[in-house]
């Protein structure tokens, strides 16, 4: 009986450990294969990638620009709206929020066409604006920020409001410090999602390949540098993930409604 007790936890750990390793294999395989070139282990693939295919980095910076712009702007403009839904009472607030949830849950299939129509009418198709604007107004940021802000104690806000009626000061001293780790996680999540943007690039910049992000172009680079290209592309994400792992996981738990 006792030996059974000891084996079971160890077995469980082992099985889960094996599963976990299986999950990581695609990443490790891609990274390892990027160091072989012409059958030898070397950095040759990277040289070939950066020099012979020197336009690769142009697309890389495209992705950087889009992801950074979308993250920064969407968080900045969603903060007040999130606060509005979280703490400011007004009629019809919850039904309105439900609409946000609805749109957030709708997959690209449903939101792609409305975005496209508007971009077309504003003449923004095939410009960098098309690949940033719709995503900046995504309801996801508003949703998460509202969830986070709901946990801020009301008294804190009321106290701060007694001392100042400046919105900026309120945010700076009462709201933001409370939700800082959560906001960081949100920023990282939005960054990763924008870094991975594919559907929008395919449709909104159909005719202008130069402004496309790396996510779409990666499939077109020559086969002998694919692994290096993939590794470079996922490197920033992995670094972000490793640095902010705990914060990310804690905040993901707030996904619930």
């Amino acid at each position: 009986m006792k030996s059974q007790r000891k084996i079971l936890p160890a077995l469980r750990t082992a099985i889960i450990g094996v599963f976990a390793l299986l999950f990581i294999i695609p990443v490790i395989s891609t990274a390892v294969k990027s160091f072989s070139f012409d059958g030898r282990i070397s950095l040759g693939q990277y040289w070939e990638l950066f020099v012979t295919n020197f336009t690769y980095l142009d697309y890389f910076w495209n992705s950087v620009f889009y992801a950074a712009a979308i993250t920064a702007v969407s968080i900045a403009i969603s903060l007040p709206l999130g606060f509005l839904f979280a703490k400011v009472k007004f009629k019809g607030r919850d039904s309105l929020f439900f609409v946000f949830i609805l749109v957030m849950l709708l997959p690209f299939q449903a939101t792609l066409l409305p975005n496209y129509i508007q971009l077309r009418d504003f003449n923004m198709l095939n410009t960098p604006l098309a690949l940033t604007l719709p995503m900046m107004f995504s309801p996801f940021a508003v949703f998460l920020l509202r969830q986070f802000m709901k946990t801020i104690p009301d008294d804190l806000i009321d106290c701060t409001l007694l001392e100042t009626s400046s919105v900026i000061k309120t945010f700076r001293y009462a709201i933001l410090p409370q939700i800082k780790p959560a906001t960081v996680s949100l920023a990282i999540l939005i960054f990763c999602e924008s870094w991975n943007m594919v559907d929008q690039a395919l449709i909104f910049s159909m005719e202008n390949e130069k402004i496309m992000p790396l996510s779409v172009i990666l499939g077109e680079i020559p086969e002998n540098v694919r692994y290096a290209g993939g590794t470079v592309y996922m490197f920033p994400i992995i670094m972000l993930f490793v640095m902010f792992r705990e914060t990310l996981e804690e905040s993901m738990e707030a996904y619930k409604l």
Partner: protein, 128 residues
């Protein structure tokens, strides 16, 4: 762990920025510059200037060029072709200093007529 990650990230940024600035220049400067010509054929042989032929102990060679569309720029690769015969040009059709050469399967494909550096078979080159 955190320090390793930060260090790696800085190195990564450095590499990316370096190659973003110098990638294209490196591509063009690391390759020999060649002048390419589509030579004339007369009487079964092809006329090439002297400088196009490379004389080696085991024979004479020329370099033909093949272009393919690369991801970022056109990629030109040279192939070393062994000459079956190489005689000074008698006709004088294009002037002095020409050879009439023959090689297997060679019919006047784009050929290197001048190069800035000694070429190897299969090397990539840039057209001047």
């Amino acid at each position: 762990m955190k320090r390793a990650v930060t260090a790696l990230s800085i190195i990564f940024c450095g590499i990316i920025i370096f190659f973003s600035l110098f990638g294209e220049k490196l591509y063009y400067s690391t390759k020999p510059k060649v002048v390419i010509d589509r030579p004339l054929r007369i009487n079964d042989a092809v006329l090439l200037p002297e400088e196009a032929v490379v004389f080696e102990p085991d024979g004479s060679y020329i370099f033909t060029v093949e272009g393919s569309v690369g991801f970022s720029a056109e990629i030109l690769t040279v192939t070393k072709v062994r000459l079956t015969s190489c005689e000074p040009d008698e006709t004088g059709y294009l002037g002095e200093g020409y050879f009439a050469v023959k090689a297997e399967g060679y019919n006047g494909a784009p050929t290197v007529v001048r190069t800035s550096k000694k070429l190897r078979d299969g090397q990539r080159v840039i057209e001047e």
